[in-house]
């Protein structure tokens, strides 16, 4: 049931997890700990700075001054590039120049910060950035900034800004000497938000900004900056801008957590809290998995063993001993045959994030149980009855490498990994199988203008029945205990079929709810091809039939899939009934493991609102199971028809439970953060999609996780 955990859990959950963690930052002893500015991207107080944060760092920043409350999630997606998503509450501002002052405005925006020159002995680091390039444009600005450290405690930054950052002390845009079009910047009025406002980038007047930062002690750093941010919406209704200077002090409460006090523009005090963690630094290191079974070497000569074959009763007894020992390891024996000098086992990994670890433990356990003449172990990882791959391991290698310094890569090099062949009869007792679980659930809902954070808590019951190989009946049922999701009364204004925008009615009326109730059949119609047919109540808003075929050779970094669904919209009460909206939806999907932890996926097809288009998703995946990515969907629905946000986009964060607990587990939080959820570009949310099922059993995932073979 991996991944069932909190499918709907979201962003603030992640933020709370960040807050609750004992953050260990291995780079904490670095004397320079300059961090995030009030907009949450790498910088000083309001101004940017050129340095990046450590690769992989995920930070949540909250800042407040003069009615301006900014909450930003920033991810250092590569050593040079960081991206931020910001949710702000602005009070007493003018959304457009000359417009009336509004009491309060909630606004979402994105930023990118790219360092393209590294700091050298004489040379400063240099970065370029874009702010609010995809939202309503309230924070729209661009900059180039250079930063140089002197000694271990000083940093000086200076740069040139456009848009909001070109508002004070502005001068004629130097780029306009190259092309006249840079001279004028259009007013950024974009009522729907969401469009890339590329036409304005680096246009209009420019201005200089700068600042110095001093690491006064290991815990404290002080900042003085000259701000070119004219705060066009906020001044003078929210605060007065008396001077262009800001003063700040930041205290590092513990590694990754900083608290700042700022004095801004000669008139206001502000505060800021930054919390950062790095997926590369799990709190328990490589995990507290219980010790694996020790390798049991064969005695030098066991002549009595030669030519010995197992009778039927003996092989039954061996089979059940192996099944028991594997169960202790959290691995399920699916099938087993012993013939000649080879033992072939099909196993299901129910416990370990890495398939290689399950393979390693299976092999180790076998050394203590198999007759001495068995020299080859063929271990076949299985998922939902489908054979994933085949790993051949020589018993002699296990015996000689158990305590070898370089056992990890030597054992990988000597293992033979290839496509699985055969497919034996499952061991007696494997089918039929019934499995169930009861746990609490939490479903937050974010960004409703009436109340930006709402949530429900309750009890969730999961059950799964597997009568024969490949066939799975499963269901998820929820009973709410308490919550505020039913307070959302904002009606959908969508002019498209309301396939997602009436989620609040589903929240209100679905108590208790059948989240899903399906029968699924998984099969392997050919080499490298995997298939799935699912029917029933597929997800909380749709039911019907879903079919999928995936092509994924064991050694391939590419995969191709086709999915076709015929679904009908479910009743709001999420029990048995349907509404009268039916749709044929489906996609052709391409998957690419680009290496270095980057993954790309492209889906082309027809979405739930009968719109045609494509989704592009890019994810950074850490080998310990963290995934942080972004996706965007463009369809033939015009931006104005789509409504607020213009098109569907969002962030996806996956947090492995094992990272938090240190215990082996395949469970993970998966949370999708969408600035706005509307009806265009909406995809069916069916369980058991094949790529994520099959990929862990293949290369390159097996080799990526091979460090855990001996774990």
């Amino acid at each position: 049931m991996a991944g069932v955990f909190g499918m709907t859990s979201r962003f603030w959950l992640a933020a709370a997890v960040v807050a609750a963690l004992p953050v260990t930052d291995s780079r904490a002893d670095q004397p320079l700990s300059f961090g995030y500015n009030t907009y949450g991207y790498p910088g000083m107080i309001d101004m940017p700075a050129a340095h990046s944060r450590p690769d992989g760092e995920l930070a949540f920043t909250s800042s407040y001054f003069a009615g301006q409350f900014r909450n930003t999630l920033t991810f250092q997606m590569s050593p040079r590039l960081s991206g931020s998503f910001r949710y702000s509450q602005l009070e007493d501002i003018r959304p457009q120049p000359g417009a009336a002052v509004v009491n309060s405005r909630l606004d979402r925006s994105f930023s990118l910060h790219f360092r393209f020159i590294d700091e050298g002995f004489r040379r400063p680091a240099v970065a370029v950035g874009l702010n609010d390039f995809l939202g309503t444009g309230l924070y729209e600005s661009e900059y180039f900034v250079a930063s140089k450290t002197f000694g271990e405690r000083f940093r000086v930054s200076g740069g040139i800004g456009w848009g909001r950052l070109g508002g004070v002390g502005g001068f004629r845009n130097p780029l306009s000497f190259v092309a006249d079009g840079f001279r004028r910047r259009d007013a950024s009025s974009n009522p729907f938000g969401g469009r890339v406002n590329g036409g304005n980038w680096f246009q209009g007047d420019a201005a200089f900004f700068g600042g110095v930062q001093w690491q006064a002690s290991d815990k404290l750093h002080l900042t003085l900056e000259y701000s070119s941010d004219n705060n066009p919406s906020e001044v003078p209704s929210a605060f007065e801008r008396e001077i262009p200077f800001n003063f700040g002090a930041t205290y590092r409460v513990r590694p990754g957590v900083g608290l700042s006090a700022n004095y801004l523009y000669g008139s206001e005090f502000g505060v800021q809290l930054s919390m950062a963690l790095n997926p590369k630094d799990p709190p328990t290191g490589s995990g507290r998995d219980p010790a694996p079974p020790p390798v049991v070497p064969r005695a030098v000569a066991q002549a009595s063993d030669l030519g010995w074959t197992l009778g039927r009763d003996e092989s039954r007894a061996l089979e059940s001993r192996v099944a028991q020992e594997l169960e202790l390891q959290g691995i399920r024996l699916h099938a087993m045959t012993v013939s000649g000098d080879t033992a072939r086992l099909e196993v299901e990994n129910e416990t370990y994030h890495r398939e290689a670890q399950a393979v390693g433990r299976t092999a180790r356990a076998l050394t203590g149980m198999m007759p001495a003449r068995i020299e080859h172990f063929v271990i076949v990882p299985v998922t939902s009855g489908m054979l994933g791959s085949e790993v051949r391991i020589a018993r002699t290698d296990l015996e000689s490498l158990e305590h070898d310094l370089q056992n990890s890569w030597l054992s990988y090099k000597r293992a033979g990994i290839g496509p699985a062949t055969g497919g034996e009869r499952p061991v007696p007792g494997r089918y039929p199988a019934f499995d169930w679980g009861l746990k609490p659930y939490l479903t937050p809902s974010l960004f409703d203008p009436d109340d930006p954070v709402r949530a429900d808590v309750g009890a969730e019951l999961n059950a799964r029945f597997e009568p024969v190989r490949g066939l799975e009946f499963s269901g998820t049922f929820r009973k709410k205990v308490a919550g505020t999701l039913d307070e959302s009364t904002r009606p959908s204004t969508s002019v498209l079929p309301r396939v997602r925008s009436e989620a609040n009615i589903y929240d209100r009326e679905g108590d208790p709810a059948i989240i899903d109730l399906t029968g699924a059949y998984y099969f392997k119609p050919g080499a490298d091809i995997y298939g799935r047919v699912t029917a029933g109540y597929l997800e909380r808003m749709f039911g019907g039939v879903s079919g999928e075929v995936l092509w994924k050779p064991v050694q391939s970094r590419f995969a191709l899939g086709v999915e076709v669904n015929y679904v009908q919209q479910r009743d709001f009460d999420q029990l048995w009934g349907f509404r009268d909206y039916e749709v044929m939806t489906g996609h052709v999907s391409g998957y690419w493991d680009m290496g270095n932890g980057y993954h790309a996926q492209v889906d082309l097809g027809r979405y739930l609102a009968k719109d045609w288009g494509a989704t592009v998703a890019l994810e950074r995946e850490f080998e310990n199971g963290w995934k942080i990515g972004a996706f965007a969907t463009l369809t033939d629905v015009p931006f104005s028809t789509f409504g607020e946000g213009s098109f569907d986009k969002g962030l996806r964060i996956t947090i492995p439970i094992s990272w938090l607990s240190g215990e082996p587990s395949k469970d993970a939080y998966v949370s999708t953060i969408r600035p706005v959820t509307r009806d265009g570009g909406a995809r069916l949310d069916v369980n058991g999609r094949l790529y994520e099922k099959v990929r862990p059993l293949h290369e390159p995932e097996l080799s990526d996780g091979w460090g855990r073979f001996w774990r």
């Binding site: 709370a16 997890v17 020790p294």
Partner: protein, 212 residues
Amino acid sequence: MGALLAMMKRARLAAMLAGAALGVAGCDTLSAMAPGGGATTKRISLDQLGQPRLRASLERRGTSALMHVTGRNGDVVTWETPQRISVSLADGVLVATRGLGHDLMSVEVREARAALKGALPAGADYPRFYGYLDGEHRTTYRSFLCHVVVPERDVVETTGDGRLITRITERCSDPDFSFSNVYWRADDGELVRSRQWIGPELGHIRLERVSG
């Protein structure tokens, strides 16, 4: 039974997560959990009574446990606690730990073992490589130069059965860091006690043979 266990395991995880999500006691839950707390506990069978035992103490955590032999492969003996935390020793020299988190995956100890037996010239430097998994589960190595400290190789005590015990100190360093391992070696070659470094996060482990 299996289903019930699985359910309890899930409920525990879920409760922990809920705690973490609410920002309440998230840290406490994590740190209070005993190492390997979720592990299936292996029963110690009666025939293990009277078998050799090893007391292992983690200095930094202030915890200790008794271990029994669960595996032998060549010169390496693996000792394990009922909670499935294990150490593997080659002639008493630590070569691996499991179940602790930040575990030592493997070490090259051939020359260290020779030095302890006095087979290397006194005070001679030899390399020692330590293998770990980093936060992304990738194998990483740390290398040190080590030597046996000459003046500290002293006869210090005798055991009840009249064996002479020599204390041997091994000092290791790399450019940033140094540590030492101390071994109490009987004249028949057995290491009866030791204080050995596991890694930067776990620090030292004390190992002592328990008789009776």
